[in-house]
């Protein structure tokens, strides 16, 4: 396990560094960054929603906390992007911890409603904070590209590729460990899990915190990507919809589901936005989400599984 992890980590780093040296289509990195960002967000959502069944509708809020913390660390504290990413993750993780601490002992719906309300409050705070640019937004200049990259966007792509890899590996590790088995027990019957000695409350807090941390990490490099950060686009409802549609389309409760979902739905959206229009893109995401949740509850993974069992029998 450990050896294969390090080998694949080296492979991912090598891919991130080498690909931009040969493949020079700027738009590819522009689109790939978004897909990788969603891979992190949907993996983070799945960690809580897919494994324990607690639905986070405030992904955009957590993401914005990461993005604005990142921007503040870059602009005001003149920090390195890695520090900014960690800071964005930690603040967003603390937010997840606080909200989880207050609401997660109750029925899951109260947590879901609180996250919805929280996203609105975060947007309101950002709009009313003048030092963060308020409704006007912030401008961020990209630094000089770091060699061997000839363009900063290519560096961001390599960075996101590595973060996405770490997130997916973390999810996979948790899923295979005793924590993952406890999560499944919580999702199935919380009371029974508690009776058999599963530390339900502590594990749920762990999931909300880690999930919030990963969402903040996904948001923190965004200021450098977009170079102009403002509260309305940085916490668009689309971010939330995608982050929960992708695990549901791929298949919730498995580490592979969000990966498949983000590649499939994220890739489709990039194609639709370019070939049709970004408005139609929104409509299609909504229809795909409702379609999958009503007709294919297991997502693509579930569909593949049912085809396999049908073949076997």
């Amino acid at each position: 396990m450990k050896k294969s992890f390090f080998l694949s980590a080296i492979g991912v780093i090598a891919l991130g560094i080498l690909l931009p040296q040969f493949f020079k289509v700027s738009y590819f990195y522009f689109a790939a960054y978004v897909i990788l960002q969603y891979m992190i967000l949907s993996t983070a959502w799945n960690l809580l929603g897919g494994y324990t069944g607690y639905v986070n509708f405030g992904v955009g809020g957590f993401y914005a906390v990461g993005a604005y913390t990142g921007a503040a660390f870059i602009l005001f504290l003149k920090m390195n992007i890695i520090v900014a990413i960690l800071a964005g993750g930690i603040l967003s993780g603390l937010l997840g911890f606080g909200l989880g601490y207050l609401t997660i002992r109750l029925r899951g719906i109260f947590f879901a409603i609180s996250t919805l309300a929280l996203a609105v409050i975060i947007q309101m705070i950002i709009v009313n904070t003048h030092s963060l640019g308020g409704a006007n937004g912030l401008y961020i200049l990209r630094p000089e590209p770091i060699p061997p990259f000839s363009d900063y966007l290519e560096f961001l792509f390599a960075l996101m590729l590595f973060i996405a890899f770490l997130s997916v590996m973390a999810a996979r590790f948790i899923e295979k460990s005793w924590i993952g088995r406890c999560f499944t027990a919580i999702r199935d019957t919380e009371e029974a899990a508690a009776c058999t000695g599963v530390p339900v409350f502590r594990l749920k807090l762990f999931a909300t915190t880690l999930s919030g941390f990963m969402m903040g990490v996904a948001g923190a490099p965004f200021p450098y990507y977009i170079t102009y950060l403002e509260p309305y686009s940085s916490m668009d409802l689309l971010i939330t919809v995608n982050s929960l549609a992708m695990p549901l389309v791929g298949g919730t409760g498995t580490w592979l589901g969000p990966v498949i979902g983000s590649l499939f739905l994220g890739g489709a959206q990039q194609i639709i936005t370019v070939t049709v229009s970004s408005e139609w893109n929104l409509l299609i995401v909504g229809i795909v989400l409702i379609g999958f949740v009503t007709l294919a509850p297991g997502g693509i993974m579930g569909l593949i599984g049912s085809i396999r069992t049908r073949r076997a029998s």
Binding site: T103, L116, L282
Partner: protein, 293 residues
């Protein structure tokens, strides 16, 4: 002088808060039925209100019909929409006991679709309803009451009384409360809980067209406005004791006065944070609300 002035300001703020509370009751009553009584977590409730607002805008701007009357005109159509949505919800989720995660996401998908559809049709421009009473103010002593708040308050009070009588005096209303308490007991009595839930959910969506009329009378409406009300309507529902009609009215008044006072003392930007604060405190301290049904 200063003391008298601030006292007057305070009374005006409380009066405005009570009027606001009546309006909050009007927009929450539907959710108290669906979420409070039927246990259907309709997070798309506020966006249905915005949809109602746009329907009213359409009728009001074309024919000049009074917005509140226009809201009533749309109520039967919204009832049917509610019946349709519940049929899908029941057959896809509730029947299989899968309502928690996937049912929530289903309503979130509806929220998103309605918002996007409104955005594609009407754009991000703000829309307003027109009526002779919007913009007028009546004065009682030093108290100034604007009609654009007073009329929605009165509609909210009437809705509360009508729904209170419906749930306490009519057969169907009492059956709904029975379903809320013990669905299988109702089935043993020979009634069909699914039919009762269908009608009640239709009723809860029907209230959103009238609530939409009030929302577009009070202020301009744009497609994403519904999100600002999510925290409020759920805070009121929970504070009101999950499904108690009179509790909803009292909780709405508390929120209205609290928001109005916060806006007067601390600036209007913080009004929205009040509902979230109330929601968190109630959830942390007394999740069954103030008025347990």
């Amino acid at each position: 002088m200063g003391g008298i002035f601030s006292g007057e300001l305070l009374i005006n703020a409380i009066a405005a808060g009570i009027l606001l509370g009546g309006f909050y009751a009007a927009i929450t009553l539907g959710l108290s039925i669906s979420f409070g009584m039927l246990d259907i977590v309709n997070i798309a409730h506020p966006v249905f209100i915005i949809l109602g607002g746009y329907g009213v805008f359409l009728l009001n701007s074309r024919t000049g019909l009074d917005p509140i009357v226009a809201g009533l005109v749309f109520a039967p159509l919204f009832f049917l929409i509610g019946v349709g949505v519940y049929q899908v919800y029941y057959n896809s989720f509730e029947k299989w006991g899968a309502e928690s995660l996937r049912g929530l996401v289903f309503f979130f998908g509806i929220l998103f679709l309605i918002e996007v559809a409104l955005l594609l049709t009407y754009g991000v421009d703000y829309r307003l309803a027109r009526a002779p009473w919007i913009g007028k103010t009546i004065a009682i002593g030093s108290l100034g009451l604007s009609l654009r708040l007073l009329f929605p308050f009165l509609v909210g009070v009437i809705m509360t009384v009508v729904l209170y009588l419906y749930f306490s005096r009519t057969f169907l209303g009492m059956m709904t409360r029975g379903v809320a308490q013990d669905s299988s007991a109702v089935r043993l009595m020979g009634a069909n809980p699914i039919r009762i839930k269908t009608i009640s959910f239709g009723l809860s969506i029907a209230t959103t067209s009238l609530a939409g009329a009030l929302i577009i009378s009070i202020g301009p409406v744009e497609p994403s406005l519904g999100r600002e009300f999510i925290g409020r309507v759920f805070a009121v529902t929970v504070l009101g004791g999950m499904g108690s009609i009179s509790g909803t009215m009292i909780a709405a008044m508390i929120l209205g006065v609290a928001e109005s006072l916060t806006a007067t003392l601390g600036g209007p930007a913080w009004g929205l944070a009040v509902s979230f604060g109330i929601l968190l405190v109630v959830l942390a301290v007394r999740p069954s609300g103030l008025f347990k049904r």
